[in-house]
Amino acid sequence: MIIGIDMGGTHIDGAAIENGVLIASVKHQVDHGNYFASIWQCLEDLLSQVDKDAVERIHLSTTISTNAIIEGRLADVALILQTGPGLQWHFERMGEHIVYLSGSVDHRGILVRNLDMTQLDDAREQLLENPVDALAVISKFSTRNPEFERRIKKYFEGDYNEITMGHTLSGKLNFPRRVRTAYLNAAVSRTFIGFAESMREALRQSSIDAPVFVLKADGGTVDLEGAMSKPVETILSGPAASFMGVRALVDDERSDRVLIDVGGTTTDLFFLVDGVPVFEPLGIEIDGRKTLVRALFSQSIGIGGDSHVRFEEGALKIGPRRYGLPIAFGGDSMTPTDALVYLGKLEGAYRDKCLQAVERMAAEHGFEGVALAEMIVRRMCEEIRQAIERVLDKLNASPVYTIEELLRDRTIRPQAVEIIGGPAASLSGYLEETLCLPVYCPLHHEIANAIGAALAKPTLEINLIADTEREKMSIPERGIYMPIDRTFNWREAEQFALSQVRDAGKALGLEEDQLDAEIVESSSFNMVKGYGGRVDRNIRVKAQIKPGLLEKLRKSD
């Protein structure tokens, strides 16, 4: 049995799944004063309905790290940066304790200027004036050669409880994002570790020894141990949990699809191409900070079931603000939800009040009540359609770097839409008309998030680079920086990448048939020194465990 828990902004959902069948689910309110207690109560409630001893794994999608960042509860972090030659970014909102050191490596990882040890002594002195708990060390091109980050870490070991090295967080190139990611990782570290330790302790006391996995924004999971060393990977996992839940609830189609998650204030859009989810090219943005945290691509639009509806200079406007609950649920601001209640598509606790309010607003602007309600719903659908169009334009213009890709012209053309969230079922008919596409609202969609949390499997991506001239190979995500032979070739590189991904997957507890290791990108460049010189190779392979599900959800019989 797998337990899935997803903590959102207001609710916390739990689901228990045994052999692909949903056997129990719960919904609680989040206590913003005590996140751990919220999760634990939800888990206890769920466990009370099932056989505790049959629990094989517990999957958590938490907002622990997310909220720490958004609410600004970040630990003070000492930052050591080696910016090397190039563009000089000004790093803001990272506190006061930033030290710049000389020393750099180039794009191939070749040492350009050595680290000056006397500068390290000075840095320590300077940083110790304001002692803090966590340190983050980031060098330009450290993914190509992490020697400086490692040496600096070694030098400061003992001074800090937590030291984050930039190259351990992603194999991708983007120095400013690496700096922000490492900073955030160090800054949420203590909060997350505190949570993780409480969790372990509580499980121990309840004699549950199932392993705990934590959801990531890319729809995969990481074991608790891994999450404790890279807590930044656990940010913004909620939307990914919902996305994975829908994957578990609908039939697999190798087609282009859009997933719409309608919330109270916002609506999130996700995309699948040939049935494969679209990812952020570099990483997700949180609180205005662009990171290298791998994530599903999503676009949030400022319109939801509770968005404020009004007329401005004779024109109907919806959102992006929200003023409390819909009238039909005890609030007093007109919303799309009220329009749906008026049209009889949705139940409402205060139906009469809602009907009156719609009638009144309609009369004020010279409409019939039905006409206004229809107009609101169709306007909402139209805004969603336009947003989808805009995102598709953007995705279809994503940069390509080979002639083959440019000529292939893989334009995304959605063939179906899946919709989840509060008013999903009532909206699907209208959306179908607006989008001219079939719109599916899966069964159990209201707890898709918890189901997704339960069924998501570990994922991981690695970026291998082999340079036969330097006789070196690296996979930053695995901490591999090793010598290779000059004859090392492309095929060997691909095989090595696959075996590394498989090993990592097995270490995360995946079975052979769940591994699904694949090469995502692969290229080999001839390197020639001067004219007619010897030919070496610069080989680049990206491999991953395909994000996916441990199993599909079956209909209970």
Partner: protein
């Protein structure tokens, strides 16, 4: 971080195309440049946008070139995409999408002349000219200055705009007596319709940052102020760099960036440059930051030492003398034109063109009709050592009625004896005889 000037980048490294396995123009060429741009986080700078190239059509190519036997058999998709990348840059700027644009595409184009039998200096089609002529047909006429900062003489661009007074071509390059293609003398000043609007600035080997900036301040900028172009294009070859394996100049990334800041081009197009690890990553980053109006002071090559690359007094003197000679020709261009062409009705020019990559020798006779109403129709008769023979007639964009009629007559006449091409740029029509 926010760019002062919005900038469109067409970065298309064509990772699956090479002239041959170990040719300098191979898949690897922009690999480290892309790495550098990614690591610098260029794509996260507000105001810098990345665009995919489009693909030029054969019509776009025929607008500029006489391809023998035809464009289809000489070109691969890579050429159409490189040209399409430059067209995209023009679209970005002229439609107002971005203030400026930089096409980082390959292969280059500035050695490709109007007549094309094959590859010259890694170029088959002139991607700037294809982009510019496309833009003129789409967005209307404009006065344009092309400043070629590649180390080699931009002989292809010179040939295409030889007789076009609306396109000022300025090329600085290592003196042709010491480097391919051998042309680019200061006395190559243009045809009778545009005499003086072809400006060559041959520089001595070992010219450094100081020399380039001297030329920029004392020759290029004054000429541009005088000419008042609507747009400026930088043919941004990067082989003046001190690490370039094919040339002998000492320009640095800082030098290239400062040049672009001062020149302030609307559009830049990558041309040559084959120091793919030591120069291109830094030079391209420098150009991008300079075009975007951002601080580029930190962009320094790992092995750069000012002392080592400072130019000698002798070079400085030489550069100063060249500048004086070029300036004099610019100021006296009308007088010199009269002296050169007098009252002649037709000007004939005989020349030889060598295709180094393809190994073809071509002989050309060009005939320029002199017209007081327009730049005049012109004809090129060409044959090569492989037995090919052709004639090409160009009717300029602003041709007067008489010249246009004349052009069609010339075409008919030539077509009777050999394969002939007609470029009617005034109506954007292109024809080939059987």
């Amino acid at each position: 971080m926010k760019a002062k000037n919005t900038l469109g980048l067409i970065l298309f490294p064509a990772f699956d195309w090479a002239i041959s396995r170990s040719h300098p123009e191979r898949e690897e060429r922009l690999l480290y440049t892309q790495d550098q741009l990614l690591e610098e986080g260029i794509e996260d700078i507000e105001g810098i946008e990345f665009f995919n190239p489009g693909m030029a059509t054969l019509h776009d190519i025929n607008r500029v070139h006489f391809c023998f036997p035809d464009a289809q058999s000489l070109l691969t998709e890579s050429h159409l995409i490189a040209a399409g990348g430059v067209m995209r840059a023009f679209d970005a700027v002229l439609s107002g999408e971005t203030d400026k644009a930089f096409a980082l595409v390959r292969p280059p184009g500035h050695h490709a002349q109007r007549v094309v039998y094959g590859d010259r200096g890694f170029c088959i089609i002139n991607i700037e000219a294809v982009g510019l002529e496309y833009a003129r047909q789409r967005y209307g006429d404009m006065r344009v200055a092309i400043v070629d900062t590649d180390c080699h003489h931009g002989d292809g661009t010179e040939d295409i705009y030889w007789n076009d007074p609306d396109t000022l071509f300025i090329s600085f390059h290592q003196d042709g007596r010491t480097l391919y293609p051998g042309t680019g003398d200061i006395d190559e000043l243009g045809g009778p319709g545009a005499f003086g609007y072809n400006v060559n600035i041959p520089l001595p080997p070992n010219t450094g940052d100081a020399g380039f900036h001297y030329i920029l301040e004392n020759t290029v900028m004054p000429i541009l102020e005088d000419y008042k172009p609507d747009i400026i294009i930088n043919s941004a070859g990067q082989d003046n760099h001190y690490t370039d394996p094919l040339t002998n100049m000492n320009f640095s990334a800082q030098g290239y960036a400062a040049l672009n800041e001062r020149l302030n081009p609307d559009i830049a197009v990558l041309e040559g440059g084959y120091s793919i690890q030591g120069a291109l990553p830094y030079v391209n980053t420098g150009i991008i930051l300079a075009m975007a109006g951002l601080d580029y002071s930190g962009v320094v090559e790992p092995d750069y030492h000012l002392g080592k690359w400072r130019q000698s007094e002798r070079v400085t003197d030489h550069v100063r003398r060249i500048a004086e000679q070029v300036n004099e020709r610019w100021l006296k261009r009308e007088e010199l034109s009269k002296r050169e062409y007098g009252d002649r009705l037709t000007v004939t020019r005989r020349r030889q063109v060598y295709y180094d990559t393809a190994g073809i020798m071509e002989i050309q006779v060009q005939e320029f009709k002199v017209c007081s109403e327009c730049p005049g129709v012109n004809t090129v008769h060409s044959y090569n050592d492989r037995g090919a023979s052709m004639a090409g007639i160009t009717i300029p964009r602003k041709a007067c009625h008489a010249c246009r009629e004349e052009g069609y007559k010339l075409f008919e006449h030539a077509a009777a004896t050999k394969k002939s091409y007609l470029q009617d740029m005034s109506s954007d029509d292109y024809m080939v005889s059987r």
